[in-house]
């Protein structure tokens, strides 16, 4: 089963865990209805929509309210550190949490203590904490955008806010950024770098790029990186080979933009209904590309 871990932007939202469903354009967990804004609810919604199409499997979410003070995140970190052994997941996606090295390490200890280690995907604040702690290689996939990739490539930066200018200045030098991140052991086994062209890296080198179809306004829409990560989680939990899942997730996210034709003012919740069709289009394109390779 796929697990999604993160926060919602409501300080009064209690720690809630359970199977997530999509209902009337919102995420429903344990009878609680959560709006699909950007962030973890968008990721979880995309994962649920993708799982319904792929295998019908469940998406289990761990959510807590946090508006940036870190209090909710610490409640969730503690819960995972103390209770994760009661659960069993094939894939875990860690997302918007206040970066905290000590708590990150406690959660990673809990993951490592599980009888069967899940496939680990990290994005957003938890990815920052993983890099800061020096434990990036313990993960299977990170899904940074180009600004976050520069942060991973800067061995001295404790947060993207402090990424040095000589690393940040050219967003087109993705292979150099990737090589630098791996050289300092600040990257996991695989990276999906979201950008004008999506780059997929493994063990220090770019192994695939996805650049079509193009729908430029997607970059401006908050949550479109989150949908990619959610779809990636769903593909991995459905048994897809990890590298194929990375390619397919990037392709699907692009098809979401192409099919929904959003403007920069579109909100991510409006894109979720497109996920199943985008997955189907991506599957067809991937099959054609595979056929071309064989021929």
């Amino acid at each position: 089963m796929l697990a999604v871990v993160g926060t919602v932007p409501d300080a009064s939202f209690p720690l809630t865990c359970g199977r997530a469903r999509l209902k009337m354009g919102r995420l429903e967990v344990q009878g609680v209805s959560v709006p699909i804004g950007r962030g973890t609810p968008a990721l979880a919604a995309a994962a649920v929509a993708a799982m319904e199409r792929l295998s019908g499997g469940d998406v289990f979410v761990f959510l807590v309210g946090d508006v940036g003070r870190g209090d909710g995140s610490r409640v969730l970190y503690r819960f995972l550190a103390e209770n994760l052994r009661q659960f069993s997941f094939s894939v875990m996606v860690f997302h918007y949490l206040q970066p905290d090295v000590d708590w990150h390490n406690k959660v990673l200890f809990a993951v490592d203590a599980l009888p069967q280690r899940p496939f680990l995907i990290a994005d957003a604040g938890f990815m920052y904490a993983a890099k800061m702690s020096g434990q990036a290689p313990a993960y299977d996939v990170f899904t940074p955008d180009i600004g976050e990739m520069a942060f991973l490539a800067d061995e001295r930066a404790p947060h993207p806010f402090y990424t040095r200018g000589f690393i940040l200045h050219d967003p087109h030098k993705v292979p150099e950024l990737v090589a630098r991140a791996y050289a300092h052991e600040d990257a996991p086994r695989r990276l999906v770098i979201k950008g004008e062209t999506d780059h997929i890296a493994e063990a220090g080198r770019i192994v695939a790029t996805v650049s079509q179809p193009v729908w430029e306004p997607m970059e401006a829409i908050g949550g479109t990186g989150d949908t990619l990560t959610g779809i990636l989680g769903a593909l991995c939990a459905s048994g897809k080979d990890p590298l194929d899942a990375c390619r397919m997730a990037a392709l699907t996210n692009r098809w979401i933009g192409f099919l929904a034709r959003p403007t920069p003012a579109t909100q991510v919740a409006e894109l979720i209904p497109t996920v199943p069709e985008a997955l189907e289009q991506a599957r067809k394109v991937a099959a054609l590309q595979e056929g071309d390779k064989r021929a």
């Binding site: 950007r38 940036g68 604040g125 020096g134 800067d154 930066a157 908050g222 003012a265 909100q267």
Partner: protein, 183 residues
């Protein structure tokens, strides 16, 4: 067992490790350090008074170590108490500066500005904020909820209601956007 211990050992000479999510507040004199310590401890922040690292060439002989991610919140509390640090820097690399490079993308009717990992997009005709994306700290979705739909002149500034370094990066992008949209 040994492999596991090695795996969770922080590495040296990088931003990685237990102190990498900590920052330093540098003040002009020790009186300010004592006042800041009293105020921040009273508010429940996990801080510690320490000696400054050798890279810091200004301020007094004491600094305050604090959770770096909460930079915006802590600076706001200090400002309310009339305390103004000379510098606020990461423990692991005190000479690092905040990002100062901006990337812009013009979509015709809309303009997007990116600072580090944060992007903000405005409708150039109405000056309404239409989207906020990027970031990884939990105040980003909160800031987006509060700002999207409001005009640049009416919306609260990210530094007024944000808490983290992502909130700070959004403030920089917001200021750059205001600069570009000003007549």
């Amino acid at each position: 067992m040994f492999r596991f211990l090695k795996k969770l050992s922080p590495r040296k000479n990088t931003a990685s490790g237990a102190a990498s999510d900590r920052g330093i507040l540098v003040f002009e004199n020790t009186s300010e350090v004592i006042q800041a310590e009293k105020r921040l401890k009273g508010l429940g922040f996990p801080i510690a008074v320490k000696g400054p690292p050798p890279e810091i060439q200004k301020g007094c002989d004491l600094v305050i170590e604090f959770p770096l991610m909460e930079k915006l919140t802590i600076e706001r509390h200090l400002e309310a108490a009339g305390l103004h640090p000379l510098a606020v820097v990461p423990v692991t690399a005190p000479l690092l500066e905040p990002v100062s490079l901006f990337h812009t993308k013009d979509y015709g009717r809309y303009l997007m500005v990116r600072a580090a990992n944060m992007k903000i997009t405005v409708d150039k005709e109405s000056l309404r904020i239409v989207n906020i994306s990027g970031g990884g700290c939990p105040d980003v979705p909160y800031l987006a909820d509060r700002l999207v739909g409001q005009s640049l002149g009416e919306a609260p500034q990210p530094r007024e209601i944000g808490h983290t370094l992502c909130g700070y990066a959004l403030q920089l992008a917001y200021e750059e956007l205001c600069r570009r949209c000003s007549p």
